[in-house]
């Protein structure tokens, strides 16, 4: 029998490279490798001759030289004498800032609209369908420009807040909505550490305490679960958890001496507080409502994917509607909702590169815009830009894969 299953032992001939399925794939791959190498070599040759003709070379030294331009919206110290690398860093943080804010609000809008699209209220259902269709079918760039225009054209200038009978007034004397941006009260510390008692280290303390509180509440909850398993009686954890969340932070903020810096009209503009620039708000809001429409569809699909029998079975077991939602429907719906939700987060991050259209200083506008135009280092800048976005999306998709594996239905 072995004579049949053994491959034919004939001598190797050249035609077998094409006709024998055992060797054909090697031929194809060799051809592909040669073509790939030829293409890469061709491009390399062209790039080097073109660069030589233009008197350029590939060098990243420009990152260390002064950027020479100002950035209004920034999270870290920066002035026009800072290096291009610093400008890129400001851009990266701005990208992450707007992406994070937009992810939070888009999820908020999306979940609300998605749930309301399934409401048994006809009017609300139709209104939400209208919202989803309108926002999904119009380019996000147009939404960004429209909202930016609303900011500029509709909101009053700082000048309108002046005089004895101003045309515009601040909301609760705390918030000022102007066409240059929104001014909100900003926290600062009177007894904190760092320069002028206001270093970032104080915020690290606050975040550290919050993380500690988070783990403490997790412990309390798991202990309550254990008690419930053992005795059948669930201890009331609400007040303990609330105390763990709030008391340590409040004490810490009191120790550091938290004060609020309220924006005030000084001269031609507002001073003090935190300024959230118009471009940031336009980008944030536009990305939120645009992506929110997509998320709404994901949420709706997720909830509809849980079969009605699940709800009915849970009801037959005697669960109340709140518990049915949290114990039966949501865990199953989330399995369907989360993966597309995360790719929507990825889309938000990538779409935040449209900041360049409204002049928000994200990484595309700093590194890929002004730095590129001033230094003429097109290849280097675009490559760095792509590297940044690739890193972000690879990180997010790694996270998504881990999550998918964790919630995958364990079958057989």
């Amino acid at each position: 029998m072995s004579a049949i299953t053994d491959p034919p032992q004939g001598s190797f001939s050249l035609s077998m490279l094409i006709n024998d399925t055992r060797y054909r794939s090697y031929t194809f791959q060799a051809v592909a490798a040669i073509i790939l190498a030829l293409c890469l070599g061709f491009f390399y040759l062209n790039v080097s001759t073109n660069l030589a003709a233009a008197g350029l070379n590939i060098s990243y030294e420009f990152l260390g030289s002064p950027a020479g331009y100002d950035i209004n919206q920034r999270l870290i110290e920066y002035d026009s004498q800072s290096s291009n690398a610093r400008a890129a860093m400001v851009g990266i943080l701005n990208t992450l800032l707007v992406a994070f804010l937009a992810c939070v609000t888009a999820t908020f809008f999306g979940v609300i609209a998605g749930v309301l699209r399934l409401s048994n209220n006809w009017l609300v259902r139709k209104l939400m369908a209208f919202y989803v269709e309108i926002f999904r079918n119009i380019p996000v760039l147009i939404w960004i420009l429209i909202i930016f225009t609303i900011m500029i054209a509709v909101l009053p200038g700082p000048r309108a807040f002046r005089g004895d009978e101003p045309e515009a007034s601040m909301l609760f004397d705390l918030f000022a909505f102007t066409n240059r941006g929104v001014y909100t009260p900003g926290p600062y510390f009177t007894r904190g550490l760092g320069p002028e008692g206001n270093g970032g280290i104080n915020w690290l303390f606050v975040i550290g305490v919050l993380i500690a509180s988070f783990f403490a509440t997790r412990m309390v909850t798991s202990r309550a679960n254990a008690t419930q398993e053992a005795t059948g009686v669930r201890p009331n954890t609400l007040w303990t958890n609330l105390a763990i969340w709030f008391l340590p932070v409040i004490v810490l903020l009191f120790v550091l001496g938290l004060k609020w810096d309220i924006p005030e009209l000084k001269g031609f503009n507002f001073a003090g507080g935190i300024k959230v620039g118009g471009p940031l708000i336009a980008l944030w809001f536009a990305l939120s409502i645009y992506t929110g429409a997509f998320i709404a569809e994901n949420v709706r699909a997720g909830i509809q994917a849980v079969s009605k029998g699940q709800t009915e079975a849970a009801g037959a077991l005697g669960l109340r509607s709140g518990r049915i939602m949290s114990l039966v429907v949501l865990p199953q719906a989330l399995r369907v909702i989360i993966p597309p939700l995360i790719s929507q987060y990825l889309n938000i991050t990538k779409n935040s590169s449209l900041a360049i259209a409204v002049g928000y200083a994200d990484i595309t506008a700093t590194l890929g815009g002004i730095t590129l135009n001033q230094t003429g280092r097109a290849i280097e800048c675009v490559l760095l830009l792509m590297l940044f976005y690739l890193t972000i999306s690879l990180l997010i998709s790694t996270f998504m894969n881990i999550y998918n594996n964790a919630v995958k239905l364990k079958e057989r």
Binding site: A32, N121, W122, L141, K350, M386
Partner: protein, 433 residues
């Protein structure tokens, strides 16, 4: 006695049924509908009232503005004079600048009929692809359409589209001849034949043939307006579907080198925003071509957008391929089909059918993304609004009408496409429900 109870009923038992009463007023007609759909519970009633407030506030501000619109003035100041303080839109910017919004500001104005005709013919060409009931003979026109549209929009010598057509026909003939021995032979033979014909024909076309052509030659940089969006959308989608199929098959291939080339390409493209690819088109791609060659920006943008959407389409088709039961692959193998035959006859027809909704979604997204070319200073409809129209002295300070118009254009096209996709899904559902 027994029969008595049936024939002579007691006087107090009714012999005939009463006519049916109408349901109570709260249980019929519009009142019932409203009780069930709008005011079933107190939270529902609150939601309804809130929705009414939202709808009223939108309509009360938008309707007077739209209905009071002015259509026939030639500048913003004139329009404001006509309005005289009343609420109303200045739609006259749309009527006055219609041609610029549609065709950009440098396309020769006496030639507008050419892109318009190409646009109308697009529907004729797309019809047999979109609706299967139409006579199949129409597909001949679809195959000819790219050459006709090229000739209409760019003009110049008619020799160029004819040469392109001859090259394609030559390639198809060589493919037909060689495909009997093997698909790969036929495919590569056809491509080589077409390229050879184009190359030789390119040498034959005389220099300056476009100078006195019947249709005036229009360079690509003169294209603009919504026409540019439509062209980018149609060209890139149609190019990226075959490329996406190839990438998806490559990603599933058992040959590691081919597989990894496809995986790296797809993941790289999907990981970066379209804007960075457009930057590549506008500032970097020129370095990759041999010194001295000039490729116009339109072509570079088409290359990059096609790469972009083909990666996404490849992922959609991969989903379709993965959704096919393994039995289909095994059945094809057991029939003795080779790889190309199995793919063409068994696998792809089913996988593509599953992927149609996804592909249409990508196409809609791509069409919306064509607005991004305004960032690299091409004057598509958004670029026209942000650039020349906002800068024009007569219309300085007009936003809503223009952005609203652009939004409406995109909404009509994208909503139409998504409705078509839903119809197609229902039409293609061959499984029994």
């Amino acid at each position: 006695m027994v029969e008595n109870t049936t024939t002579h009923s007691a006087a107090f038992v009714r012999t005939e049924t009463l006519p049916e009463l109408d349901p109570p007023v709260t249980e019929r007609g519009i009142v019932k509908w409203m009780r069930e759909n709008l005011f079933s519970t107190i939270p529902n009633a609150i939601l309804t009232l809130l929705a009414f407030v939202v709808i009223y506030s939108i309509l009360s501000s938008a309707l007077p503005w739209i209905l009071g619109g002015v259509w026939t003035t030639s500048s913003l100041s004139e329009c404001r004079e006509v309005l005289d303080g009343a609420t109303g839109a200045c739609f006259s910017v749309l009527t006055e600048r219609w041609n610029q919004l549609m065709f950009g500001f440098v396309y020769p104005s006496d030639q507008y009929w050419r892109p318009t005709l190409a646009f109308v013919l697009l529907f004729v060409a797309a019809a047999p692809v979109m609706f299967f009931d139409l006579p199949r003979k129409l597909l001949i026109f679809t195959a000819l359409f790219p050459f006709i549209a090229y000739y209409l929009i760019w003009g110049g010598t008619i020799l160029v589209p004819i040469l392109a057509l001859v090259g394609v026909i030559g390639g198809v003939m060589v493919y037909r001849k060689l495909v009997q021995s093997s698909f790969a032979m036929g495919f590569f033979g056809g491509v080589i034949a077409a390229v050879a014909i184009w190359f030789i024909g390119g040498l034959l076309i005389p220099e300056g043939a476009s100078d006195n052509a019947a249709l005036q030659a229009v360079p690509s940089r003169d294209l603009g307006g919504f026409m540019l969006n439509m062209m980018l959308g149609v060209v890139c989608v149609s190019l990226s579907i075959p490329l996406g199929i190839a990438l998806a098959l490559g990603r599933q291939s058992s040959m590691p080198l081919i597989k990894w080339i496809c995986v790296i390409f797809i993941e790289f493209i999907r990981g970066v925003p379209l804007i960075t690819l457009l930057f590549v088109a506008s500032v970097m791609l020129a370095y990759l071509f041999p010194p001295g060659t000039t490729t116009d920006l339109f072509l570079r943008v088409v290359i990059m957008i096609t790469m972009f959407s083909s990666a996404y389409i490849a992922e959609v088709i991969r989903g379709g391929l993965a959704a096919l039961p393994k039995g289909q692959y095994e059945a094809a193998d057991s029939l003795g089909l080779d790889y190309a035959q199995a793919m063409r006859l068994i696998i792809l027809p089913q996988a593509l059918k599953i992927s149609i909704p996804g592909i249409v979604n990508i196409a809609v997204g791509l069409f919306k993304d064509t607005t991004l070319v305004s960032v690299i200073s091409m004057f598509d409809v958004v670029g026209m609004i942000r650039g020349p129209l906002s800068a024009a002295t007569e219309w300085n300070g007009i936003y809503w009408e223009l952005y609203g118009f652009a939004a409406l254009l995109f909404f009509v096209v994208c909503y139409g496409i998504s409705q078509y996709s839903q119809w197609l899904e229902r039409r293609l559902a061959t499984d029994h429900r």
